[in-house]
């Protein structure tokens, strides 16, 4: 059973969002990393670039496949997890902590159109 912490928000495309004030930390879920298998590359946008909710902001590549990353929110990228360049396996090992990908500054501290942990759990249970 894949984990989906209560305090996070989720997308149907298996990204998670953790809000710290108006900064949204973004990564992929435990379910997503497990489906992808061993991750070998993570391609992230540059700090300062803009991402648009629902559009791709990067790619994650495992031994077996490559998958687009979809932004859960719109805003400006203020931080990226540069450690993933050398240790992409962190996404497998700690999808909700050390495997975070980007931080985006957004207009509100309450992004809309995202799923709760419970809603996401029922989605992946299907």
């Amino acid at each position: 059973m894949s984990q989906a912490p209560e305090n996070l928000l989720y997308t149907k495309e298996h990204e998670w969002v953790r809000m710290e004030g108006t900064t949204a930390y973004i990564g992929i879920t435990d379910f997503a990393q497990s489906e992808l298998g061993d991750i070998v590359f993570v391609e992230l946008p540059d700090v300062g670039s803009s991402v648009q909710a629902g559009e791709t902001f990067g790619t994650v590549e495992s031994v077996k496949t490559v998958s687009d990353l979809y932004a859960p929110v719109s805003g400006k990228v203020v931080k990226i997890n540069s450690e993933l360049a050398d240790t992409p396996e962190k996404v497998n090992e700690q999808p909700y902590e050390g495997g975070w990908m980007i931080a985006v500054e957004i207009e509100s501290d309450h992004p809309e159109g995202l799923l709760s942990a419970k809603e996401y759990q029922s989605l992946i249970a299907e």
């Binding site: 590359f41 391609e43 590549e61 495992s62 031994v63 490559v66």
Partner: protein, 362 residues
Amino acid sequence: MLKRTPLYDLYAQFGAKTIDFGGWEMPVQFRGILAEHEAVRTKVGLFDVSHMGEFEVSGPHAYHFLQNIVTNDVGRLEISQALYSPMCYEDGGTVDDVLIYRLEEEKYLVVVNAGNIEKDEAWFLSHDHGAVIVNRSQETAQLALQGPNSVSVLQKLTDQPVADIPYYHSRQNVDVAGIPCLVSRTGYTGEDGFELYLDAGAAPKLFLALMAAGEQEGILACGLGARDTLRLEARLPLYGHELSPEISPLEAGLGTFVKLQKAEFYGREALLQQKEQGVTRKLVGFELKDRGIARASHEVLAAGKKVGMVTSGTMSPTLHKSIGLALVEKEYGELGSDLFIDIRGKLSEAKVVKTPFYKRAK
């Protein structure tokens, strides 16, 4: 409905994720591709390859049939020996690549790729030269035990010595865990190991016995994902990628297995012509300098134009490099040449390197 091997019911207990592989519901991984890959390179791994097809070829015309249908020389095959060979159409394109075992004076076993079983059967039967050809794929299971600890694991389950079976030789009716097996010193990983052929009904018992026997040696159940990274590092061709109806064995760099001095075989004229005139395309190994993975069917560019395509690519777990094979116009395939690979619209720099990417220390 996807086809399943006799081992399907065991997958879940070893944590398998399954995929559709040419119409078969097969495990792509158990523990994880990287862990499984490393187990085979340093310890031992066990693969279910029961999806592969097996044909029994016998009778006074068996030899003549095989000599005509494959490009390698079956005449050199002694009883218990195995032979790898491409099998070609008249135009030199590849029908399949197969393994042939000589079991008796006039009896052979031909092992074919899972996705080609029906196609090969039709090809065999329409070119049978009077040989008796029986499809044994359904009732035959195949397990591959691969890695440096393969000998010690297998030896625990049989009284017959297995260490002295030479490479590309086999022993018939070897009692392994009480199950009669054809034990072959072959594999598709670039490591030492065995392929075991047995009655489908006994396969779950043998799989469990091998997993238990190999526990101390660090055995892992392995899926098709690791099988692919292992074979690619060893530059072993995969049908549908490095070989196809559009790719001849000479283009794929398999000239050693094409014996043009044989009087007659399907594809001989076309292959002879390719050999004499020189092939226009060749299969080369490359390393990607940029990040990312070049995958099958990505375009290869050089001098500003398309010069070929990637046939296979992966992140090499052993070398920690992004590697691949590409079929390119010959003049762009020299060692050290720079190539560009179109990875989803982005040109990534690659360099032609020597293959195999990985060779085990003897």
